[in-house]
């Protein structure tokens, strides 16, 4: 089966003048010789400390950036040959938040996800509206359709952004720190939703998170990045190893098993100075 997405020996460096680059990446490569695949219907977790290249990876995968060396393939086709809109019909990114300068309604925001399917149209079609409504139902925000996004709580906005990504009807969903500012209830809901989507619709999911336990819980496979390089790739049990983690994160940890799910959990060994 062709993998949904594939990175083959990808290098990327931000140019020195680029203010957007993290400090550590200014003169060094942000990603070095990165190779991995994401299979269809897989939940693929990407973990690593700050400045390990996780954000850069998302940008490359969504064609915001193009690699300096190597290739990225979507469904077997090189990314460079695809238009941005074509990529957007295959890869849907769920960012952490959206700027709130303008008071769009939830429905307007979710409908934006339909743009890549008909970029030449000025207005969305009835079919687009149906897709949007389904996506809102899937994300559990159907009743918020007429609300302004700047009036929502953080958790509600997260789900709305997810709904927009779902409306893209892509086969691969890329989530960037989906639980970053959510409290427990929403973290749990998020996991439930992702699992349901993956199981019911076969949606491929790439999950970038620095919450190791979330990644371990949800992912079929994990990629551990450090300083732009792949350190480990495999099942959560294989990747989450005390020694490796200690070296990568620079602090002492204990890898244990979740009492209910039996998935690996990572505990920090808090220092007593």
């Amino acid at each position: 089966m062709t993998p949904l997405a594939e990175f083959r020996h990808v290098d990327f460096a931000y140019r020195a003048s680029r203010a957007a680059a993290p400090r550590s990446a200014r003169t060094a490569f942000a990603l070095r010789d990165l190779s991995f695949t994401v299979e269809a219907s897989e939940v693929f977790g990407i973990i690593g400390p700050n400045a390990s290249g996780k954000t850069t990876l998302i940008r490359l995968l969504s064609r915001v950036l193009l690699p300096a060396r190597g290739e990225i393939l979507l469904d077997g086709r090189p990314l460079e040959q695809l238009t941005r809109a074509a990529v957007a019909t295959q890869v849907a990114v769920v960012p952490q938040d959206v700027p709130q300068g303008f008071p769009y309604t939830v429905e307007e925001l979710v409908l934006m996800g339909r743009f890549p399917h008909a970029p030449g149209r000025l207005f969305e079609s009835a079919a687009d509206r149906d897709h949007a409504r389904q996506a809102m139902a899937q994300a559990g925000v159907a009743d918020l359709a007429a609300e302004r996004i700047d009036r929502l709580s953080g958790g509600e906005r997260q789900r709305v952004i997810l709904a927009r990504a779902l409306a893209q009807r892509a086969r691969l969903l890329v989530l960037d720190e989906p639980t970053a500012h959510l409290d427990l209830r929403y973290q749990a809901e998020c996991v439930g939703l992702l699992r349901r989507l993956n199981r019911d619709t076969g949606l491929g999911i790439v999950l970038v998170s620095h919450d190791l336990n979330l990644a371990a819980e949800v992912s079929d496979r994990l990629l551990l990045l450090a300083a732009g390089r792949a350190v480990r790739l495999g099942s959560p049990e294989a990747v989450l190893d005390d020694a490796v983690l200690e070296e990568v994160y620079g602090c002492r940890v204990l890898v244990d098993k979740h009492p209910a799910s039996r998935r690996p959990t990572v505990q920090i060994l808090w220092p007593y100075p």
Binding site: T89, P103, E108, F123
Partner: protein, 339 residues
């Protein structure tokens, strides 16, 4: 309500209001033309006195047309520019292009640059040349290898605008005492009846600018929520930014060329429309074309009738509306920041 329905409703209301205002403005003015006589002129009756014909058809009608075009152009430029800079408080004058255009005209007025080959250009030509220089400067300063970052665009626009405004101040300080009054008067806005050729050019420029801003208005919606997000949704952000910049600049330049510098319309009208119709640019841009025209028409009608037979500059009225409106905007925005 779907955006198309909202658009149709808004256009219907605005078109009616504009038509009513335009008709009413035909009856208002310093010349004592009775309503019956106005109607006689409009109906093309032979009984219409020649003076009345001149007043209604050569003075009032072209001026109304100029006001509608200038107001519409400014409002559309405002919508585009606010979307482009992701800032609902941006004004097209921040582009720097208006100052460049104004400088071109003042330069021509101060040095009487109307002799010989330059005469063909006319004030309108000087305005466009000035605008072109300013716009190119802004673009050159702001553009990076990758594209057109919005924050540098705003900065570049402000810098270029300040440069040309200062240059205008220098010109004012050396101009002949005799011409000073005229120059200062022009700088307050110079809406007047335009001859058919100029009106035609104005219509063409406005139409083109309108198209440049309207065409990518769906993409502009996506851009308003962050450039990276828009790229990830398939928007060709650089192309959209270039188009909107070109369109807004063309509209701003045209207004200065044909009606002099007029402020605040590009700020007030888009904002008011956004409050009423929501932030969807596909609805706002066409609505702004009508609403801006309506607003400026009303302002101009006031300007030419408040102290008749003397006339106020229309810029005076828009500024008087603008300042309190700005205060209101500021207060309503800060209230929203409270959780």
């Amino acid at each position: 309500m779907s955006p198309t329905a909202r658009l149709v409703a808004a256009l219907a209301v605005l078109a009616t209001a504009t038509a009513v205002a335009a008709m009413a403005a035909l009856f208002i003015g310093s010349a004592p033309v009775s309503p019956r006589d106005v109607l006689a002129v409009l109906g093309g009756r032979a009984s219409a006195a020649p003076v009345d014909q001149v007043v209604v058809l050569s003075l009032r009608l072209p001026r109304i047309a100029a006001a509608l075009l200038a107001g519409g152009a400014l409002a559309v430029a405002g919508v585009g520019f606010q979307g482009l800079t992701r800032n609902p408080l941006a004004e097209p004058s921040v582009l720097g292009v208006s100052s460049g255009a104004a400088f071109g005209v003042v330069l021509a007025q101060v040095f009487g640059l109307r002799a010989g080959p330059l005469e063909i250009l006319g004030l309108v030509g000087f305005a466009f040349v000035g605008a072109f220089v300013a716009g190119t400067a802004v673009y050159a300063i702001a553009a990076r290898a990758g594209g057109l970052p919005v924050h540098t665009l705003v900065l570049a626009g402000v810098i270029v605008g300040i440069f040309f405004s200062s240059a205008i101040t220098v010109l004012i300080s050396i101009v002949d005492f005799d011409r000073l009054g005229g120059v200062v008067h022009w700088l307050l806005g110079n809406l007047g009846p335009l001859p058919p050729a100029e009106l035609g050019l104005f219509v063409a420029a406005t139409a083109l600018g309108f198209w440049l801003v309207l065409h990518p208005s769906r993409q502009l919606n996506l851009l308003a929520l962050g450039e990276e997000g828009a790229l990830q949704l398939g928007v060709d952000a650089e192309r959209v930014k270039r188009r909107i910049f070109a369109g807004a600049a063309l509209l701003a330049a045209a207004v200065v060329a044909f009606a002099g510098p007029i402020g605040f319309v590009g700020l007030i009208v888009p904002h008011a429309l956004r409050l009423a119709l929501g932030p969807d640019n596909r609805v706002l841009v066409p609505a702004a074309l009508l609403a801006g025209g309506l607003f400026l028409l009303v302002a101009d009608t006031l300007a030419r009738s408040l102290i008749a037979p003397a006339e106020l500059s229309v810029g005076v009225i828009t500024s008087f509306c603008g300042a309190p409106f700005f205060v209101y905007l500021l207060r309503s925005r800060t209230e929203r920041i409270e959780p």
